[in-house]
């Protein structure tokens, strides 16, 4: 059952080949068997899952529900789930049981009727590119358990890649959906900023954070994303605009589609094997009628430095709420209120989160604000303008998702800057707010390679359409790691 698409699982439920309870039990058993090797879940919510599965079975028996009713899903542990621990990968929130549900949790589980298997491991407060900053320990890549799965949505991708869940939610502030999807042979999409509600999603950098999904195909991703998207009055940056029929658009022909390859994304620093796989995928799309041209995003090399001013600045402000008073970790044996704040935060946050809070505090401090924060906001505009110009000439921008395949656990933990450079191809889409996705386009030495598609604002349907057509012509996305078959 764990190799079937969401559409096939939905058909199986309707044809009574299996019930949602049986399907859920199958996945819970796989989690129990395989997750000790991966560490992809922080919490497994077996009891609630079976109750939701029974409710879904009852709904289906009445002839109600949709495609997603009764299908299991894993939630990244950044989304608030009422009555269930919501840790955000941090010691700070190790004892935090959310008092309310995120909007996407309501939509996917209460409305669409999906079954929540548990909460996935992640880099602490989504700050990381390897899932090594989690308070709950690193996640292993199912393709090679001595390597990282990418981050910050490392638990989400490891769970789906190993067949421990059909799909999982994820979030992306600088590449945290796309880079881990690329390193684990998955399809992951970060929609346009404002497309999916951020209500109940624990904040990292509010002008960049966006929720999305990781799945084994563009079609699976389209079904789940469709249920997540849409206006939410509870999120002040939610966009009030109709959502396209993402599933209905999958089969559109792509003949005549103009695809731009940014020369900066194929420059020095890109591993040769990755370049070769991405160019082979370009040939496949060209064979399907796409028109390929070289473009330039001249300011994209500045996206990493821009991001490491903007994101820490916003994070230092967002994470100021953790004070040891209202919820979260509280230090013992303190003498006064200042010591309570400092000790609670010093103990509750890990090293990477502390680094980013300090960078953010520094770039926002008197005397440095103009040189760093204001300058970065200006360069952010230049990066946005690059995309605006590009989308006047092409429909879609294509490049690699990451510079290389998955690296070894521990290889970059002592060097923050080399870790940050993992996201060199993904950050620009967050700064501009445009939708972007990663999908698998082959392997190098048995490790998955991802290609990235970036679209114009609100063009999620087209991204998924192109990815789906590519996946009909190839079978990279159907490969599963042998050890977890």
């Amino acid at each position: 059952m764990h190799t079937l698409s969401i559409r096939a699982l939905a058909a199986g439920l309707r044809e009574k080949k299996f019930s949602s309870r049986e399907l859920t039990q199958h996945y819970l058993k796989r989690i129990q068997t395989f997750d000790p090797q991966l560490n992809s879940f922080i919490s497994v919510t077996a009891e609630q899952a079976l109750a939701q599965a029974d409710a879904a079975d009852a709904r289906l028996a009445r002839g109600e529900g949709g495609v997603l009713t009764g299908i299991p899903l894993a939630q990244k542990d950044i989304f608030c789930t009422q009555g269930v621990k919501t840790s955000c990968g941090s010691r700070m929130l190790d004892s935090f049981v959310a008092p309310y549900d995120a909007t996407i949790v309501k939509r996917l589980h209460h409305e669409a009727g999906m079954v929540m298997l548990g909460k996935c491991n992640m880099d602490e407060f989504a700050m990381g590119s390897s899932n090594e900053t989690s308070w709950y320990g690193p996640v292993k890549n199912p393709w090679d358990t001595t390597r990282v799965p990418g981050g910050s949505s490392g638990g989400s991708v490891a769970a789906v890649a190993a067949g421990l869940a059909p799909a999982a939610t994820a979030t992306d502030t600088g590449g945290s959906i796309r880079q881990p999807a690329a390193l684990t042979n998955l399809t992951g999409i970060k929609p346009t900023y404002g497309r999916v509600s951020r209500y109940g999603m624990i904040a990292f950098a509010s002008s960049l954070d966006q929720a999305g999904v990781v799945a084994r195909s563009a079609e699976d991703a389209a079904y789940v994303l469709q249920a997540m998207c849409g206006f939410d009055p509870l999120d002040s940056t939610s966009v009030d605009r109709p959502v396209e029929d993402l599933v209905g658009a999958l089969e559109r022909p792509i003949k005549g589609l103009r695809i731009g390859l940014p020369k900066e994304y194929f420059a020095d620093g890109l591993a040769e094997g990755v370049r070769a796989r991405v160019m082979e995928a370009v040939k496949v799309l060209e064979g399907m009628g796409a028109v390929i041209s070289e473009i330039s995003l001249p300011n994209s090399p500045l996206s990493v430095p821009t991001y490491y001013v903007v994101a820490p600045a916003e994070a230092s402000s967002n994470l100021a709420r953790y004070d040891g008073v209202r919820y979260g970790h509280r230090a013992e044996g303190v003498k006064n209120i200042e010591e309570l704040y400092k000790k609670s935060r010093g103990e509750g946050f890990g090293a990477e989160v502390q680094r980013r809070i300090m960078i953010g505090t520094y770039v926002l401090s008197h005397g440095y604000y103009d040189a760093y924060y204001l300058k970065a906001q200006k360069v952010r505009r230049l990066i946005y303008e690059d995309f605006r110009r590009a989308f006047a000439a092409v429909d879609l921008v294509l490049g690699p998702t990451a510079t290389d395949v998955a690296f070894k656990l521990g290889a970059k933990t002592d060097d923050p800057v080399s870790m940050y450079l993992n996201d060199i191809y993904t950050i620009a889409a967050n700064l501009a707010g445009i939708p972007a996705m990663s999908l698998s386009c082959g392997f190098v030495d048995g490790l998955p390679v991802g290609m990235q598609l970036m679209g114009n604002y609100f063009d999620e349907a087209r991204l998924l359409n192109v990815a789906h057509r590519y996946q009909q012509a190839t079978d990279w996305h159907r490969q599963m790691p042998a050890a977890f078959a």
């Binding site: 002008s207 500045l302 003498k335 010093g346 946050f349 960078i359 505090t361 906001q377 952010r380």
Partner: protein
């Protein structure tokens, strides 16, 4: 741009982060290397560029001025580290 140990201590104080003396040197080195990378921004020509704070050109929505939230005080206090009689407890602030 390199940060001195003294600057790191000051930033940690502003951010209300307790720091062991031996950590300050380590952080000074790492934060300096991050700021060195960030210094590439100086190369960009941005004289006439309007800063971009947000990806979407949104206006803050207004909603009708009516009460929409139920009273959840008990639920919120249940997750607090220390409460008494409906109040959050902190160390004594006024001597």
């Amino acid at each position: 741009m390199s940060l001195s140990i003294e600057q790191v201590r000051q930033v940690a104080h502003l951010a209300r982060l307790a720091m062991q003396p031996e950590q300050a040197e380590h952080y000074a080195r790492q934060l300096s290397s991050i700021l060195d990378m960030v210094d590439q921004l100086a190369k960009a020509q941005t004289d006439a560029v309007t800063p971009m704070a947000h990806p979407l050109d949104l206006h803050q929505r207004l909603r009708p001025d009516v009460v929409t939230e139920p009273d959840r005080r008990a639920a919120f206090q249940a997750i607090a580290p220390s409460v008494e009689n409906g109040l959050y407890l902190v160390p004594k602030v006024i001597e």
